[in-house]
Symmetry: C2
Subunit: 146 residues, 2 copies
């Protein structure tokens, strides 16, 4: 995060996935907005709502020793002045292993708060096992409303 | 839909769930925005993107004879001038049966287009089996950005 925060939703998103990969709880929570309205939904998990619950869910994941490599593809963006929606595939792999898992589909929503973009929703869910293509660093379409 | 469309995201959402319950493909597609940027993600399904794909996924569901009763609870709203985000639990049941299924968690996003709110994303995913409380018609919190 720059001293002035995240200048774009993309900057916040990069910081989010970087914190995920490095299991950095401080960096992760700096991406999330500071409020009770934030929500985080992991695959097959229930809604974690509010900053304490979101912190706790990530702390457990990181304390559990999760180490993943992440690639994001097929980013679909819709953006307004204060809200940005990104729908992405997350391709997770374990460092040192060649195994590819089915991608996770995630809706990430960012909000402009005090001149910095912050995450207010991460909704991730499983995709079917039978669908997988090599991740491509595509950035397929962007829709700007303003 | 009124002659002038959906005046609020809530009106569009009510029409969406009503079309879902009545398996009305015409009413369903009238809720969705008319564009290639829309996405629909059903539980354990892949992303359906663009109007044709979204139409096809609902047609298959309705043609398959699905009949459900739906209650929505724990609605969490965040809204900007042109975008509205609703995170909800969907409680599905089969008419005539008392069985309760675990709720589905859904992120619904609406966009104001030509003075009418339309759905641009429905991202629904399973919640764990071991969590279920009776649905309440709660409307827990609303965050307005403008």
């Amino acid at each position: 995060m720059t001293p002035t925060g995240f200048a774009t939703p993309e900057e916040a998103e990069n910081a989010f996935y970087s914190a995920f990969e490095t299991s950095d709880i401080h960096a992760m929570m700096s991406v999330w907005a500071d409020g009770e309205f934030i929500e985080c939904i992991h695959p097959m998990s229930d809604r974690a709502r509010g900053r304490d619950a979101v912190h706790e869910i990530w702390r457990r994941i990181f304390d559990g020793g999760l180490r993943v490599q992440l690639k994001v593809s097929d980013i679909h963006r819709t953006q307004d002045a204060l809200l940005a929606v990104h729908i992405v595939y997350e391709h997770l792999s374990t460092p040192g292993e060649n195994r590819q898992y089915p991608p996770v589909v995630a809706t990430n929503i960012y909000q402009l708060i005090d001149n910095s973009w912050h995450m207010v929703l991460h909704h991730a869910s499983p995709t079917p096992d039978n669908r997988f293509e090599d991740p491509q660093d595509t950035d397929s379409e962007q829709q700007r409303l303003h």
